[in-house]
Amino acid sequence: MPEESALSVSGVSRSFGGVYAVRDVSLSVADGEVCAVIGPNGAGKSTLFNLITGHLAAEHGQITFHGHRVDRLAPHRRARLGMSIVFQAARVFGGMTVRENVMVGSHGRTRAGFVSAALRLPRHRRDEREIAAEADVALERVGLAEWADRPADRLPIGQQRALQLARALCARPRLLLLDEPASGLRGEERERLASLVEELRAGGLTILLIEHDVAFVTRLADRIVVLDLGQVIADGPPAEVRADPLVLAAYLGQAS
């Protein structure tokens, strides 16, 4: 495992109405690592992702991303540093084609503003062509190439998830956060997602992944972090974590 840490979360907490959703959580993700976050419903997994990406403010603790303190930065600033998130609920942009949706992903690393757009400067045209081509590559990767010109909000839910993934990839992220990307996907879609994640990992991308399906996680993750009631109850290689009595208890407790 590479040494340098891409993301380091230390002592982060967040409560809602006096109840902690995330409590004193610390974890660190190495560059190029695929780390899974699992835990029962309501354990605080999505909240943790929102704290990392800045959509929620942490009450305590600090977050460092490739050496930058990011816990006080707005979400779009963190995105520009290279964090991309695919949300649990589909958030596809309406009134746009599938390709345009993916092109939005490149926003943080492109520059054309209102003036060069209004005047249609040559540089703007060149940028647009490049972004569109890159969006098409991302669509190809997630298997949506033939949907490129369709209105995005007409896609079935499974494809909307894939679309978000393409959008995240079009940002050329350094850290990809996936919140339950496989939920609602059928067998072959799930398989396609798994092999895409493997491909991205082989390309050296750091990935933080929330997932309920333990088999899916065991196959993809280098490491698993288990959250329960907002706290980390286990952190280690998949085989070790799966045998952990605390983890078993948390999951059995939920099942009963």
């Binding site: 979400p75 942009f93 009134g95 746009m96 926003h107 054309a112």
Partner: protein, 322 residues
């Protein structure tokens, strides 16, 4: 097919726009000019509401700022062209300054705050000395450029519709590009937009300023055309009217502003004739226009929620842009 229909339709519209001023009498020309000016302001409202999801009930204030700016500069001896160009700039600067605190508000809070802004500006203009108080500013010089002087109404009609064409072109170019995609994205989800690296607050502020720029330009042309400006020229009703026009035409459609402005202007003209028939009370015109705005808004929202343009240009496979 559509590749030939669109340019042909554009040419036809351009031809009609160019020929109309030559054939209309002065009272019809006045309607034609006011319609064009309203369409310019409405294009901004449509951009703001349709793409940035913001409602402004104070667009009349930016219109007034443009008109007063151009009027004050021209009366001060500045060349009219400079005054005309300063009008949208002043409105934009004002929008940037006031938008910074205002845009923290959402939905109807923002609508009321912008309405309050217009009321405050109007009462200031009615009391301050340099704006001429309630009487306003009079004897504004004709618009001129070098040796050309715009003396007849037809010249202002061309100016107005050229301005509208520029505004529509800018809107089209912005919407179909990177900043436009960002706007359409944040209209759907500010969270998802921010996580794509879009500075949501700054973008809302810029669209607010852009919509004010359009209104300011219209105000500038208006002051040269009428030759005077007064607080009474910018009632709150005018801001409501722009919203009705934008909604009727279809929010966030490029042509919606023109179609909406035309439909409402013609309707109001017809009603004015009706209300000024002998035997009608003096308050009939304003009561009728309020009633009609309300009625039209309700009917459109109920039966054509996307507005006239999308309803008329229904294409089965391609859903029109919001």
């Amino acid at each position: 097919m559509t590749r030939f229909v669109r340019p042909a339709a554009l040419l036809l519209v351009a031809a009609v726009t160019l020929v109309l001023p030559a054939t209309l009498d002065d009272s019809a020309l006045a309607v034609y000019i006011l319609l064009g000016l309203a369409a310019i302001v409405t294009a901004g409202v449509s951009l703001l509401m349709g793409y940035a999801g913001q409602v402004s009930l104070g667009q009349g204030a930016f219109y007034a700022i443009g008109a007063y700016t151009a009027a004050l500069l021209s009366l001060g001896g500045v060349p009219p062209l400079v005054g005309l160009l300063a009008a949208p700039v002043a409105a934009a600067v004002f929008a940037l300054v006031i938008g910074t605190p205002l845009l923290r508000l959402r939905g109807h809070h923002l609508a009321f705050a912008t309405l309050a802004m217009q009321l405050i500006l109007l009462s200031l203009a009615g009391q301050l000395e340099f704006t001429g108080g309630d009487i306003g500013l009079q004897a504004i010089p004709q618009f001129s450029l070098g040796s050309f002087e715009a003396s007849g109404a037809a010249a202002y009609a061309y100016m107005t519709w050229a301005g509208l064409a520029v505004v529509m072109l800018i809107t089209h170019n912005v919407i179909s590009s990177r900043p436009g995609r960002a706007l359409r994205a944040l209209a759907t989800s500010e969270t998802a937009a921010a996580s794509s690296g879009i500075p949501v607050g700054r973008y809302k502020l810029v669209v607010f300023a852009l919509s004010a720029t359009f209104a300011g330009l219209a105000g500038g042309i208006y002051c040269f055309y009428t030759g005077y400006v007064a607080p009474g020229s910018f009632p709150v009703l005018i801001s409501i009217q722009y919203i009705v026009m934008a909604v009727v035409g279809g929010l966030g459609t490029i042509w919606g502003a023109v179609v909406g402005a035309t439909a409402i202007t013609l309707l109001v003209q017809g009603l004015d004739r009706l209300a000024s028939l002998p035997g009608m009370p003096t308050y009939a015109p304003s009561v009728l226009s309020y009633a009609v705005y309300a009625l039209v808004l309700i009917v459109v929202v109920l039966f054509m929620p996307r507005g006239l343009v999308p309803a008329l240009s229904r294409r089965p496979d391609r859903r029109p842009r919001r």
